[in-house]
């Protein structure tokens, strides 16, 4: 229903956009998609408006799948998605050659828990998290947890795993990471935005998972890093590929994304950044993406297309500092360079929209 309303709203905005507004009085851009970056995008729009008061931008947090569907149907000008477009989704929207997909920031998924009496942040490893969610590790004082948490008096308490009941990019990132850490998890649960968990209870959204974790002593749940830190929810460190226990911070998540630039190809930029090398890299990290058509002729006018490009360029340059303030991890410099060169290829009705002003 919300998607339907968003679609109508976006269509209405597009119709209105072709009117006198396009003549230079101001332009309105519409986008829809992932909920995870929505608070950041809202802040970006507000800040961008200070220097560009004639550009109005509207982003509807309807979910990644909804965003990709909306851009495929051309009911929005840009889409946000936590998972990169699959090959099938790219083909549905005209193929990779006609699309530009850029990472906008990186985020992280953290293991949040409720363990009364334990103050020190706990350590976890990928295989241990996988076994907790498989129901193989059921007690907080399991020898494997005790071993990696020296000096912590872990209680004799049952572990209650909590997961997301709705489809989400958070689940996609968490299960993709666990599937890489445990062969049993990979073959029995697998990865995806929504999977079938052998144990645990489910809550809707980050809010629902956080509520369940906070209400249940002995529980553990996976939530987005910025949500956990904004709501002061305790979360642990996770052992990375270099063998170091790292807690999610904007630095450790940015560091996980720094090597991704080498793996980008074409203009549909995508890279999985969980379990990356580097002492400081947080292992359960992922990019969130913005998607537009390479030729912006689906926008009502050249002014709209120029405003779109201006906003995207601003977001990956000046916007990155605003991201860090809100616990979203900024893109590393090499990634940013690749993003900017992808944005240089945007056109309007075949005409280039000009390279970036450095």
């Amino acid at each position: 229903m919300r998607r339907w309303i968003a679609g109508v709203a976006a269509a209405a905005a597009m119709v209105l956009g072709t009117g006198p507004i396009a003549a230079g009085a101001g332009v309105r851009l519409t986008g829809a998609g992932a909920t995870f970056p929505q608070p950041l995008y809202e802040a970006w729009v507000a800040e961008f408006n200070r220097t560009h008061p004639d550009v109005a931008i509207d982003y509807q947090p309807i979910g990644s799948g909804g965003g990709i569907k909306s851009i495929t149907d051309k009911t929005v000008h840009f889409a946000g998605s936590d998972a990169p477009m699959t090959r099938k989704e790219q083909d549905g929207a005209g193929g990779a050659a006609n699309l530009v997909q850029i990472p906008s920031v990186a985020g992280a998924v953290v293991p949040a828990y409720n363990l009364p009496g334990v103050e020190k942040p706990l350590n976890f490893t990928g295989p241990i998290l996988a076994d907790i969610y498989l129901g193989r590790i059921t007690q907080w004082n399991d020898p494997r947890l005790v071993e990696i948490n020296p000096g912590v008096a872990l209680p004799d308490r049952v572990i209650s795993p909590v997961y997301r009941s709705d489809g989400s990019g958070t689940t996609f990132v968490f299960t993709s990471y666990l599937a890489g850490q445990s062969e049993e998890f990979s073959s029995a649960v697998g990865s995806g935005k929504s999977v079938s968990w052998p144990v645990g209870q489910a809550g809707k959204g980050n809010t629902g998972v956080a509520q369940l974790v906070q209400a249940t002593a002995g529980s553990i749940g996976y939530i987005e890093h910025n949500f956990a830190s904004a709501n002061a929810i305790a979360y642990g460190a996770v052992k990375n590929a270099a063998g170091k226990f790292v807690r999610a911070t904007t630095e450790s998540v940015s560091s996980a994304g720094s090597g991704a630039a080498e793996r980008f190809t074409g203009t549909v930029l995508a890279a999985d950044i969980w379990n990356q090398a580097g002492d400081g890299a947080y292992p359960i990290s992922a990019f969130t993406y913005l998607i537009v058509y390479k030729d912006l002729s689906n926008l009502p006018s050249r002014e709209h297309a120029q405003a779109m490009v201006m906003f995207l360029r601003w977001a990956v340059s000046d916007g990155q500092a605003a991201a860090a303030k809100r616990d979203y991890a900024p893109l590393a410099a090499p990634v940013r360079a690749r993003v900017v060169s992808a944005l240089d290829q945007l056109t309007y009705k075949g005409e280039p929209l000009g390279p970036s002003k450095k």
């Binding site: 498989l134 709705d166 697998g190 935005k193 079938s196 052998p198 144990v199 645990g200 809707k204």
Partner: protein, 373 residues
Amino acid sequence: MSRGTTAPTPPGPADPGQTGGTPLKLRLGVVSGDLALGLLCRGAAALVLLMLVALVGLLGHAALPSLRAFGADYFTSAEWRPNELTRPLRGPDGRVVVVDGERQTETLPPRFGALPVIYGTVATSLIALVFAVPLSLGAALFLVRVAPRWRAAAPVAFLIEFLAAIPSLAYGMWGAFVLVPFLGRHVEPLVFRALGDVTWLKFLFYRDNPVTGQSIRIPLEGRDMMAGGLILAIMILPIVTAVARDVLRAVPRSQIEGSLALGATWWQSSRAMLRYGRAGLFGAVMLGLARAAGETMAVTLVVGNRVEIVPSPFASIQTMASLLANQFNDPVTEVHRSALIGVALILLVISLLFNIVARSLVVGGQSRTALSD
């Protein structure tokens, strides 16, 4: 009520029996007005019916891809897995198949079985009935037979009906913050201490881990089928009580007085009343069931949202309405969306059936009593 004020005024042109002296023009206007209103009313009624038909048709059409893809499996499978699963291919001997030194894998497509959510809906609704029906019938009898009409019956009836006006989300919040912790901290551990060692009751407290095959303790944290049933019981109390009260009130005095004249005690005559109105009372229960089956937000917050069948009231479950609230916003694939619409269709058909049966029982029962009144 406006009839009382218009009665003394001379008959207007709208009264067809008194139009002898009015001009022809006016009479024509009246006739065409009647015609227009008649058509309008028929059109409105037809439109309402058409909307229902269109709704069922549209849902059916949208659910078709999943029904076609899964067939009977959609109704009989207990697995709800929106993601693709790639796992090592195992031969008949249970060992991983290796070809040219390379381990072979198989990919299982997503699978959608609606059975767990149908089970969850039926189970929570039945628990709700077990708690709500005796309470409702008791309250209805009290209102009709015991309570002094003005000093108790009216305020009590008002309060019970007031329960129906509380938003569903408020019940859910109360459930999540009061009922669930109460069940999890006090009731369920007590039940476990009392019955946990009884061998043939193991199914109440243990379940199998589908991956490891081990038998594991159900967490007993109160976020389960029982909590869902109790919340629903409170939510359907008002409607069941209100309808049951109307049914009992419609029992003719002659019935009650007849039974009293034959020497029946208060309890025996009450039983005669309940028996007399049983069709209507059953209808009241069905209306409650329809309400329970469609309830969403309150249920989502207390049942633990696990799409699986574990035959224990202390296991987390998922209902049809709650599954839709959780997953319909952003389905993973088109098949997923279609499967969810299929669940909506099942829910619609079930509620429709409950309502039709309930209405026909209540109305049938009342018209019969009205005749003998």
